[in-house]
């Protein structure tokens, strides 16, 4: 075992980690937007729209993310849309995360009893006020843990983007491996970096959760 040789490549490790973070954040934000829009349409959309959304959810949740990345990277060029590796991976991961996000948001909205909405209406609140002040805060609180663990899975899942050479941490690792032939050491370091990122995000989410959801729950 020899980790010394790897010091020279710290810039590559750092750059890879930054691209991993970028990929994760893009997919999380786009995916969450898909989640909110999809959940809203599942509630209020017409039957064909709902069917389309359900199919999207089931297809993306029941096939491997790796195959989805391959399909988008290798098949879209045939349709005339040639995406660079990073963009293709970002699209694939956003769609994958979005499918889970719809279910998470939907579960959050479903967790609010109808009587609470009716109570808000009795107070003369508008539909938007009811949503903003009565439905949204407890719904967010209820699904926050599910969202954070899905985010962690997304962060780890970005490693698959290395298979289309998207330049993130795992791709950086295979580059460094090809230069040093220190396969085991390189992947041990990469695992440690992922682990550190996961721990950091979990701590961050815990702090955000404590700050954002401070009102007491009555049981």
């Amino acid at each position: 075992m020899n980790f010394q040789q790897l010091w020279r490549y710290q810039d590559q490790f750092i750059e890879g980690a930054l691209i991993t973070l970028a990929l994760t954040l893009i997919a999380a934000v786009v995916g969450l937007a898909i989640g909110v829009a999809g959940a809203a349409l599942l509630r209020s959309g017409s039957k064909p729209v709902r069917l389309a959304i359900r199919s999207y959810i089931e297809i993306f949740r029941n096939t491997p993310s790796l195959i989805q990345i391959f399909l988008i990277f290798f098949v879209l060029p045939a349709a005339g849309l040639k995406l660079p590796a990073f963009e293709a991976a970002a699209v694939a991961l956003s769609l994958y995360f979005g499918a889970y996000a719809i279910e998470i948001v939907r579960a959050g909205l479903d967790s609010i009893p109808k009587s609470q909405v009716e109570a808000g209406q009795c107070l003369g609140l508008t539909r938007w006020e009811v949503f903003r002040h009565i439905v949204l805060p407890p719904a967010l609180r209820n699904v926050y843990p599910a969202f954070t663990s899905q985010f962690v899975l997304l962060l780890l899942g970005t490693s698959l983007a290395s298979q289309v050479a998207a330049g993130e941490l795992f791709h950086a690792a295979s580059f460094i491996e090809s230069r040093t032939y220190r396969s085991f050491e390189v992947y041990a370091v990469v695992c440690a970096i992922y682990f550190a990122m996961v721990i950091a995000f979990k701590a961050l989410f815990a702090v955000i959760g404590l700050a954002a959801f401070r009102w007491p729950v009555r049981r």
């Binding site: 096939t63 491997p64 790796l66 399909l71 490693s159 992947y187």
Partner: protein
């Protein structure tokens, strides 16, 4: 270059056997390990609890791809000998399964009210008997839906074995795609096969969950 044919479909069926084998290996070795982790994670001895919690955190905090590479390249470093790819990959999937299932089952055990343990103790049952006859069956029922859900995650996860050169379904897709220059057809069929495997499990998990909620 050649066109997509019968032989390619046959190669998918053949590769599917390896996907199934990986799932079986992961469950056969990872299942018992997960039970061990779940019970130590809920044990009364604090150091045991911490150890199990740390292991679960570690496994869940590293990409599956990282686990695969770590053991694929690590086994020769640890043992000084080359091991077959199936062994290295099998160890990675075993730990992956143990880490996630262990956590799911811990949740199941903790969801059973502590009074149930006490009731067992009042009847003079030993800790093991309490777990075996009172807590275990209830925890099993509670954790069945997420366990089936994890099975879907595991099946999808076996596609990563292709990256260390293991010829399972995803790898067969790559090979056929490269040989025929028809990525849409090759990956489309592969995706459809995964979908056909996973969708029934997803639906089953949902039915189980609905039944569980109905009983409450």
């Amino acid at each position: 270059m050649r066109s997509f044919g019968y032989i390619d479909l046959l190669s998918f069926v053949h590769a599917l056997q390896w996907t199934v084998l990986l799932v079986i290996v992961a469950l056969a070795f990872g299942g018992p390990l997960a039970l061990l982790l779940a019970t130590t994670r809920t044990s009364r001895l604090a150091p045991l609890r911490w150890l199990a919690a740390g292991l679960i955190q570690l496994i869940q905090g590293v990409p599956l791809l990282g686990l695969l590479f770590f053991f694929y390249f690590g086994m020769p470093v640890f043992l000084g000998i080359e091991v077959p790819a199936l062994v290295a990959v099998g160890i990675a999937y075993t730990l992956y399964t143990a880490g996630f299932l262990g956590d799911i089952w811990r949740g199941g055990i903790e969801a059973v009210k502590p009074a149930q343990w006490e009731a067992g103790a009042c009847l003079g049952l030993t800790s093991w008997q309490q777990f075996r006859h009172i807590i275990g069956p209830q925890a099993l029922r509670l954790s069945l839906p997420p366990t089936v859900g994890f099975l879907v995650q595991l099946i999808k996860g076996t596609s990563l074995a292709s990256i260390v050169g293991f010829v399972e379904l995803a790898r067969a897709g790559q090979v056929v795609s490269a040989a025929t220059f028809q990525p849409l057809l090759a990956y489309g069929i592969v995706a459809a096969i995964y979908f056909a495997l996973c969708l029934p499990l997803t639906l089953w998990s949902r039915t189980l969950e609905a039944r569980l909620n109905g009983a409450r």
